[in-house]
């Protein structure tokens, strides 16, 4: 493969420094440290127990089915987003992104409300919740990529006599294959390592490796056994990564397209019907559980009442937790987006830096419990006694957000044809100017998406290593979980009101970011 313009630049290697240092400092070193100090070999015998084998089997099959279900629901709406232009489109994209942001405790509570009693504590409830969490995320990533497929490719194929189905299978699917596999891998990993939803919806007899790790370390104090399971978890996910990357075929087609939109207006009635059905069903899926939460927040003692809302909005402690969470989200965006951009760039500009991809995936591969415990035993002496620092929580959030944010940026950067840069370079631009005028303009929208994902991870604190990090003030998910787990009708309603407030904030965050990203791209087009 010929070197890209940037690869010839020695300085480009420096891009990888910060991401490497970040992950090394906050994942590799702490986990290595806790393994070194706490792992005992006799704990390996737990791998032989039937209980553990059952847990591994259940974790794997529920993750596979959840992933397939998420993609099946994501693909139609991704197709609509990428190929058609209509008025409420942005609204729809924003709405389906909301579930991804919600904390697992809120989603768990919502599904307990929505599902009939006979579905509680079933694998079905768990898989449904996993699908709910991830379908919007998958649809966005796939849709964004689809949008970039040059419409002329389709036209050319059609002119050569290809049927719409042939166009789809021979062009669209081929070009989308990589991004579909990529998002499948992320969704699989998230479902495989899921913790909160499993605890709430799976019932007491269903545990995943992650809940088993937690149970061993926290309930029994068996840190060593927990670490063995944590290593097992890494092994299984690594196998999944290897399987998927071995089926990947690299694509030489240059499909980048920033000038011509493939989005068409809807003109046929049949199209209109199909599109409305897909949109309505996706929105209903995203909104029904949310509405159940709103409903609960407005009902006190079987009567309609706004008491809980008034109480929550006038309670300074509750409002403080809201401000705390928003503050952490801002810092998380700054850290995660910066490092993700650097990591994605070094991946795109220097083909020798593949390891960055594996390294930055570590935070979601390695069990949150191991990272959290590792951080506690590693940063414990001055001047590195950071255990109590305000920065630890957003760093933990950023770690989890990082692999997701990178995956939002890398594919876009990868597809910028080097000829564009060469042209600009020939015209006399230096590397920095080339980057600013070509790469940055194209990648801007992806950066915004990465920021949105980071905000989501931080606000929802989902599956995060953060739950072992000491908090100096209560965050929103913690307050919600506290209110929901106390007896008393008023406190319950307040918990739901607060959950609704978090949902509203998540929606606002998504809308603001989406709005911002679309104005930007219009400017760059002008």
């Amino acid at each position: 493969m010929p070197a890209t313009l940037f690869q010839q630049n020695r300085g480009i290697k420096l891009l990888a420094v910060l991401p490497t240092v970040f992950v090394f400092t906050f994942v590799v070193m702490p986990v290595g440290n806790i393994l070194f100090t706490s792992l005992k070999f006799e704990s390996l015998k737990i791998l032989k127990s039937e209980t553990i084998l059952n847990v591994v089997w259940f974790t794997t099959w529920q993750a596979i089915i959840s992933t397939i279900a998420s993609l099946v629901i994501a693909l139609p709406i991704a197709a609509v987003i990428a190929n058609f232009k209509f008025r409420s489109q942005r609204l729809i994209i924003s709405l389906i992104s909301v579930p991804f942001i919600l904390p697992s405790i809120v989603v768990g509570a919502a599904f307990l409300q929505v599902l009939p009693n006979s579905f509680h504590r079933t694998a079905f409830a768990l898989i449904l919740a996993h699908t709910y969490f991830n379908f919007g995320f998958a649809a966005r990533i796939i849709g964004a990529r689809w949008l970039q497929i040059h419409p002329h490719l389709d036209d050319a194929a059609r002119t050569l006599g290809a049927s719409p189905r042939q166009v789809f299978t021979s062009i669209t699917l081929k070009l989308l294959g990589k991004v579909i596999l990529n998002s499948a891998l992320v969704v699989f990993t998230l479902c495989f390592t899921s913790y909160g939803v499993v605890r709430i919806l799976g019932g007491p007899s269903r545990s995943t490796i992650e809940t088993e790790i937690y149970f061993r370390a926290m309930q029994l104090g068996d840190v060593s056994g927990a670490l063995v399971l944590s290593l097992l978890q890494i092994c299984v996910i690594s196998i999944a990564f290897l399987l998927i990357s071995s089926t990947r075929r690299t694509n030489r087609l240059q499909i980048i397209n920033t000038t011509i939109s493939r989005q068409r207006l809807i003109n046929k009635t049949s199209q209109k019907l199909a599109i409305s059905t897909i949109c309505l069903m996706s929105i209903a899926f995203a909104l029904v559980p949310i509405l159940a939460i709103f409903r609960k927040s407005l009902i006190s003692n079987s009567r309609l009442s706004t008491n809980a809302w008034r109480e929550v909005l006038s309670n300074t402690r509750v409002l403080n937790s809201l401000i705390t969470s928003l503050g952490y989200a801002v810092v998380t965006i700054l850290i995660a987006t910066t490092i993700a951009l650097l990591a994605a760039s070094s991946l795109a500009y220097n083909k020798n830096f593949r390891f960055i991809s594996a390294l930055t995936s570590l935070p979601i591969l390695v069990s949150a419990v191991s990272i959290g415990l590792g951080i506690i035993v590693t940063f414990d002496t001055q001047p590195f006694n950071w255990r109590g620092s305000q920065m630890m929580l957003p760093i933990a959030h950023a770690l989890v957000a990082l692999p997701l944010a990178i995956r939002a940026i890398t594919p876009v950067l990868n597809d910028i044809p080097d000829s564009l840069r060469q042209a600009s370079s020939v015209l006399g631009a230096n590397n920095w100017q080339v980057w600013r005028t070509i790469d940055f303009k194209i990648v801007r929208r992806a950066i915004i998406v990465a920021a949105a994902i980071s905000a989501a991870v931080s606000l929802g604190e989902f599956g995060a290593s953060s739950f072992l990090v000491r908090r100096n003030s209560e965050t929103l998910p913690v307050t919600i979980s506290r209110l929901l787990s106390r007896p008393g009708d008023i406190l319950q309603s307040q918990g739901y009101a607060l959950a609704s407030l978090l949902i509203i904030f998540s929606i606002i965050v998504i809308f603001v970011i989406d709005k911002f990203s679309t104005t930007e791209s219009t400017n760059s087009r002008a």
Binding site: V21, F22, F24, T25, I34, T51, L112, N117, H120, R199, I200, G203, P204, S205, F215, A217, M218, Q219, L220, G221, D222, V223, N301, S302, N307, T316, N320, T324, G327, V330, V331, L334, I335, I376, V377, N385, R387, G388, Q390, M391, P394, F467, L468, R470, R471, N472, S473, E474, V478, S481, R482, L484, S485, R486, P487, G488, D489, I490, L491, Q492
Partner: protein, 373 residues
Amino acid sequence: MKSTRLRQILIAISTITLITAATSCSSSSTTDVQDSTQDAEDLANPESDTNPVTLTLLAYDSFTPTPNIFDDFTAQTGIKVNIALGGDAGELVTKAALTAGNPEADVLWGVDNTLISRALAAKIFAPYESKNLANLDPAARKLVPNFEVTPVDTGDVCINYDVNWFAQRKIAPPLTLRALTSSNYANLLVVPSPVSSSPGLAFMLATIAEFGEDGWDEYWKALKQNGALVVGDWTEAYYTEFSGSSGKGERPIVVSYGSSPPAEMIFASPRPATAPTAVASLTCFRQVEFAGILRGTKHESEAKLLIDYLTDLKFQEDLPLTLFVYPANVNAKLPDDFVKYSLRPESPLQLDPELISRSLLIWLDEFTNIMLR
């Protein structure tokens, strides 16, 4: 263990990261909600003598005393208190065990009698005899004869039942653990799992205390025969399956706290004429919570003052309506509503913490085999 070279590399790496952290921190003023100045001082110069001492009180996530409750303490002693939350009680003990001797905080709130033995084995605490010790619940004090920790509150996990459900059907509610296996109460009980829930664990221990290490498994087999439902956590048991809460579930008997009935009254609007739920007092397992000074703290003498404050009347009397527990200090006055609606069992079930720590894994495995397979 760590070579000097490794440490140099570590320092170099960390410095770079610190710079990044600092820049990203200063560029967003929104994060500095509170304690920001104090935090910066912590980072810059943790042991500065010119500043007043700030103690960090590490507690479980549901630690919610009245917000300015430590103002009096600061006024009396000049010591500030920073509350840090660190997950549930099990997480606190696991983390404290890993950092024993070089703790994350100065004082730990919330180790209970199901965890205390593990905590003591890990030598987490520096012993201290509080000046209030003589006023604290004698039974609770007996659990820690060497004063590693100080009892701060007690509570009970008991069978709760839906008063109206039984009244309407003219059935007598269950009063003992044994009664729950009777066909009168078939398919009526819901229990949070001891594997994932602390009241669930307390209830399993109650059955072991009642029926002995040899008889408790037979009891659970009988409960299973009788249609007892095990769910993941307390919230689901109480709010989704139990008929006496706002969730309006289908089962009128649930494992919950002795203080749940007053909470149902105090946090209801409008307040019902009679309490909708009640407690079967012979089924209660006593939970005792402790606070202790973390061994290795740089502020041990100040931490002692904080332990005294936590067991003083002002703080103790704040507990019933904020944490729904009974003060450990026997002289503390209880709020009227609390006394009126809660039932304090005279001889709650108890188990030796040492025995709990030794056998917990075996018991939980046994429970899983009987109930969850």
